[in-house]
Symmetry: C2
Subunit: 361 residues, 2 copies
């Protein structure tokens, strides 16, 4: 058993120790084949079984209907910013975007290369400290879809519920996929980079409604068509085998914990401990508006930037790592995805109280 | 020490056992940080050092001049098929391609979406059993570059020397990068998926001359511009951390073996043993013409497909795995990249002799 620290990194983020220990074995010798997982043909029956099981587990845990394809792609969530409008918007077609942070802003920039993009809401003027209420924006009748970022890693905001519209939803769930129950049927497309809540960096999951595969304009490069990957079970070319395998191991772990509903319960309780600590004093101030608070990334400030620097350094000394906020807003951020242990949250709350006590009279 | 088999897989392919054993440790706890490599922030000083060292080693081993950028990208070599013409060819510009196998054919298909593509040579009619001699094709004066696949994994052919032209060369070296000394200054761009000769699947190395970064047309999606990645040291978005790390470990191993020149010597000797075995009898027939033979993938046939099936199965029984040829040409293929041990080649030669003896009078 290794001596672990509590790793509050926003991503790549902490993984269950049992997943790491299994990977440690499989990397060298996968299922006693005499071949390590990372040197094994992606067409071998052993690896095909890994890929199949990973997809099946994701379908089961997220209750993904049969008319959706699950793709394991490369290129990061950032590549979805252009692939979505490239595949789903024809020339001149419209889509509606909600601008709730850095990642939606980047997605909007790429989407504008392909279609008529209507930004129906933005909280940029208040440092993206909130997401909109359901009645705070309109989705145009001629809009193809409504795009939103389910959880904003940098600002620590999260949609408490999903937009209420008849339009198809498209969502970047990179930082909260599998953290709560969702109704996939409301979505045309869901995507998530694995490295926050699902596995290591190197694979992006795309869940896409089958009929949308036919929308891609002709003359789109083969590798950029969703259909290319859907038709070949994500094996049109060599997939990122290790990352897919590791996602599968995380999903096995998640199932053992009780699945997504149980995880949602745990996440609420874990985040609650931290928000309670923040709310119980004026020493700490949350960045996000209360109604928009994220269960995954808890952002907060101390009275001065100097105190924040000291807080982050002292925390690291006792094994609470990665609490520095993103450079775009500063402050502190505790990323507490599914795999982050409750004990680490408790330890952080204790540290927060002790730090405050030693810096006030 | 694990009980290894000899893995002749064409890719993902066998890796040095010391690399696997190091990865096994680092995945769980990287350099005693209490954080596994696969859950560590890509912005951490520990991972930044890994990425820097990997790049530095590649530059050293390949003698890459300072006016070239080294990128670690996702999307596989297949994504380079369109990224190269998308970035390097403006509307209507011309490029020359040599069609020597499946991968060049796919690259030509994508390139035609972006420019005027002149296919100056094709060996398709003879099942891609050879590459052209230097005087066998012309490169048009108005061509921007000459594109070729240095080694053809499926057919077992390889350019013994490089095309002799004043035009800039662009090459897919996915299956023979680091297997022999090359003069990088002749190339505008070299790319290689890692999973054959450099590491696990999930990262593609692109070596690009700096001035070419300025050629990309406006309105190209951010993630598809080489400059995006060059400007940010391949950290514009979260990189495939584990694959980059593993490439670094393979490069350390390669350096310890004596570097690329030494590897070239070993590869010649290793492949020589197999070709000698093939040439010494009529029972085995090589697929590639002698002058085009690959040192990386040795393709051969037996008298009948039935004998080939039996050969592959019996070989697997004694720990010689992955000898089945690609479905497009059938037969047998022994992929013997840098990390494939000489003892495995010797064992295969012995088996070939025994198999022949037991099937002839």
């Amino acid at each position: 058993m290794v001596d672990r620290v509590y790793n509050f990194s926003p991503g790549p983020a902490t993984l269950p120790v049992e997943v790491l220990e299994q990977a440690s074995k499989d990397v060298v010798n996968f299922k006693e084949t005499g071949i390590g997982l990372i040197e094994m043909s992606h067409r071998s029956k052993e690896f095909m079984a890994v890929a199949d099981e990973t997809e099946a587990l994701l379908r089961e845990l997220m209750e993904i209907p049969d008319n959706y394809k699950v793709l394991f792609l490369q290129g990061g969530a950032s590549s979805q910013f252009f692939m979505i409008p490239m595949n789903l918007l024809g020339d001149g077609k419209k889509a509606t975007y909600l601008n709730t942070g850095t990642w939606s802003k980047k997605a909007i920039k790429e989407a504008k290369l392909f279609g008529d993009i209507d930004v129906a809401f933005s909280s940029e003027e208040t440092s993206f400290n909130r997401v909109p209420a359901v009645d705070e924006y309109n989705v145009a009748d001629d809009s193809e879809f409504l795009y939103f970022v389910s959880n904003n890693t940098i600002y620590g905001t999260q949609f408490p519920g999903f937009p209420n519209t008849d339009k198809m939803l498209v969502s970047d769930m990179s930082s909260d996929i599998l953290s709560r129950k969702i109704d996939v049927t409301k979505f045309g497309l869901i995507f998530a980079g694995a490295q926050k809540n699902m596995g290591p960096a190197g694979v992006t999951v795309v869940i896409i409604r089958e009929d949308l595969l036919e929308r891609t304009p002709e003359n789109t490069p083969t590798m950029l068509c969703y259909k290319t990957h859907a038709d070949k079970g994500s094996m049109f070319n060599t997939p990122p085998c290790f990352a897919i395998y590791a996602v599968g191991e995380v999903l096995k772990w998640l199932k053992k914990q009780g699945g997504v509903a149980k995880m949602e319960e745990i996440n609420k309780e874990k985040a609650g401990l931290l928000y309670q600590a923040i709310d119980s004093t004026d020493f700490y101030r949350g960045h996000a508006e209360t109604a928009s608070r994220s269960l995954m990334n808890v952002t907060f400030n101390l009275p001065t930037p100097e105190l924040e620097t000291e807080f982050i350094a002292k925390a690291a000394e006792i094994g609470l790592n990665g609490l520095k906020g993103h450079r775009s807003i500063g402050g502190c951020r505790a990323s507490i995805y599914n795999a982050f242990p409750r004990e680490g949250v408790v330890k952080l709350v204790e540290f927060m109280k002790a730090f405050e006590a030693s810096h006030t009279d």
